[in-house]
């Protein structure tokens, strides 16, 4: 079956810049199924917080989303989303989201996307490219639930693909390609999600991250979350990757939140609070 190129269902372009002691919007554009709440300043850091909304409630077959975020030099953005990303069944096509994130020199981006809930027979692709400079800071997290199906069994989706590529000064330094495709390889199998149901992946990148940071964070997480499977590893660049497996969204989110607090307290050296949506 030949399909015409689908129109973009939702587009969002956001760029922020630093002005005096605050980060302010430079360009905000959204159309279709993507909306942004008005910017908020949650504390005295000057960090601007935006919350992403999908007023439609979920992603439908054939939907295409495009998200472009630029954080200027010295600017500081906290981008989060309002609710779970629900992907309804995609009998004819799929849902595709393309994210392009850029962080300038000494810029900070914290992007906490909401968990992906793929329904029965849904196919979802997310492609995310992140461009940093050596002095940029990044905190980013992705979460995947077992999805939703009438029988409540979980993992009834066709496939969930989350591709992330992080470059510094144009050189690709991290490639993360999570493909959950139950027909190809059981999701709950050895080496994949093992006996767990929920996955979260976190990246912390900052020039101040040292070799010892890996052990400090690994120890903190294993003490606070002894029941959750968590791995921490330093990257080839100053940064850490964290893989989390658990049984509930709240469980893996709690570990991701602890990583974000660690990023703020230990790396950025500030003690501002996270935005609590629930």
């Amino acid at each position: 079956m030949i399909k015409s190129t689908p129109k973009t269902t939702g587009t969002l372009k956001l760029s922020v810049v630093r002005r005096d002691h605050q980060t302010v919007p430079d360009n905000v554009f959204f159309q279709g199924a993507f909306k942004l709440m008005r910017p908020q300043y949650l504390d005295s850091t000057g960090q601007v917080m935006y919350c992403l909304l999908n007023p439609g409630g979920g992603y439908l077959d054939g939907d295409r989303y495009h998200l472009e975020v630029t954080v200027g030099a010295n600017a500081d953005l906290y981008l989060t989303a309002q609710s779970a990303t629900k992907i309804y069944k995609t009998p004819d096509d799929c849902v595709r989201q393309v994210n392009k994130l850029t962080v300038g020199e000494n810029g900070i981006l914290e992007f906490t996307a909401d968990p992906v809930i793929a329904f029965e027979n849904a196919t979802y692709f997310q492609e995310q490219t992140i461009d940093l400079t050596p002095s940029s800071s990044l905190f980013i997290t992705d979460m995947v639930t077992p999805g939703w199906s009438r029988d409540g069994k979980g993992f009834q989706y066709n496939s969930v693909t989350l591709k992330t590529q992080i470059s510094i000064n144009g050189h690709i330094r991290v490639i993360d390609n999570l493909v959950l495709n139950p027909a190809e390889l059981a999701v709950q199998s050895m080496g994949m999600l093992e006996t767990h149901t929920h996955y979260a992946g976190v990246y912390l990148i900052d020039p101040r991250i040292k070799t010892e940071t890996e052990e400090t964070l690994a120890q903190l997480l294993s003490e606070r979350f002894p029941e959750t499977a968590v791995g921490v590893s330093q990257l080839a660049i100053p940064g850490l990757a964290i893989r989390i497996l658990g049984e509930h969204t709240q469980e893996v989110k709690a570990v991701a939140d602890a990583c974000q607090y660690f990023f703020r307290r230990q790396i950025l050296k500030r003690d501002n609070e996270l935005f609590q949506k629930y």
Binding site: V174, M190, G191, M192, A229, S233, Q234, R243, L245
Partner: protein, 229 residues
């Protein structure tokens, strides 16, 4: 000096061939210590995921794309896929283990097989443009000896799994005979893995395997370790 290609391939795939593979468990030691791998059957399951995720979509695909690069694009392909290969290895010990093995393996084959491709690779490694990886060393060596991509992949997968089986025989309570039965039982899986690798596109590159990676990351913090990864 005449090199018998088949005999040389045996020599290369021998677990005694000094690449340093004997000191790497690629994370299985952690799963053994935590009772996730108790029997040869458990280990077989682990090997299959390791093969089908990390070897096929990462090492196998990258070495195939380098093997197939036209001569005028050889060097740029070698650089970009070497970088990609290391960019997708998230656990630090796995990056380090592979670069150590790659270095030792490359130095050795360059002394055994005179080949322009291997020499180019060696100079790029020596001037620190890229990090050496055993999958690429193996691929270029097979190409130098005129083996097909399919033969290269089959033998690379066989060699990688056989090394791990031998390490497991030393590291966990699976006996010599169970080890040999296990590697024999994987022949079909290796063949399928080769076919899959041949069917992939460059965009399929990379596979995140959360369970494998958590073990590979946690291995670093094991109190007592027999293997480097």
């Amino acid at each position: 000096m005449t090199i018998d290609r088949q005999l040389f391939l045996h020599q290369l795939c021998d677990t005694q061939f000094p690449t340093g593979a004997f000191s790497q468990s690629f994370g299985f030691e952690y799963d053994v210590n935590n009772d996730k791998i108790k029997t040869a059957a458990d280990f077989g399951k682990w090997l299959k995921v390791y093969l089908n995720q990390q070897l096929v979509y990462c090492e196998g695909l990258a070495s195939r794309l380098i093997y197939e690069a036209p001569e005028e694009k050889f060097e740029s392909t070698l650089i970009s896929w070497s970088d990609a290969l290391y960019a997708q290895i998230v656990p630090e010990e796995i990056r380090y283990g592979n670069s150590q093995m790659g270095k030792q393996f490359l130095k050795l084959v360059c002394q055994l097989v005179p080949d322009a491709g291997l020499q180019t690779y060696r100079s790029l490694v020596q001037d620190k443009t890229i990090l050496p990886h055993p999958a690429i060393v193996f691929g270029l060596t097979c190409k130098a000896l005129d083996f097909s991509v399919a033969d290269m992949l089959r033998n690379y997968y066989y060699m990688s799994l056989y090394n791990l089986v031998q390490n497991a025989v030393r590291g966990i309570p699976i006996g010599q005979t169970s080890g040999q039965k296990l590697i024999l039982s994987l022949h079909g899986t290796i063949s399928d893995a080769m076919a899959t690798t041949l069917s992939l596109n460059a965009t399929d590159f990379g596979r995140t395997s959360p369970g494998l990676e958590i073990a590979q990351m946690k291995h670093h913090f094991l109190y007592s370790r027999s293997f480097m990864s």
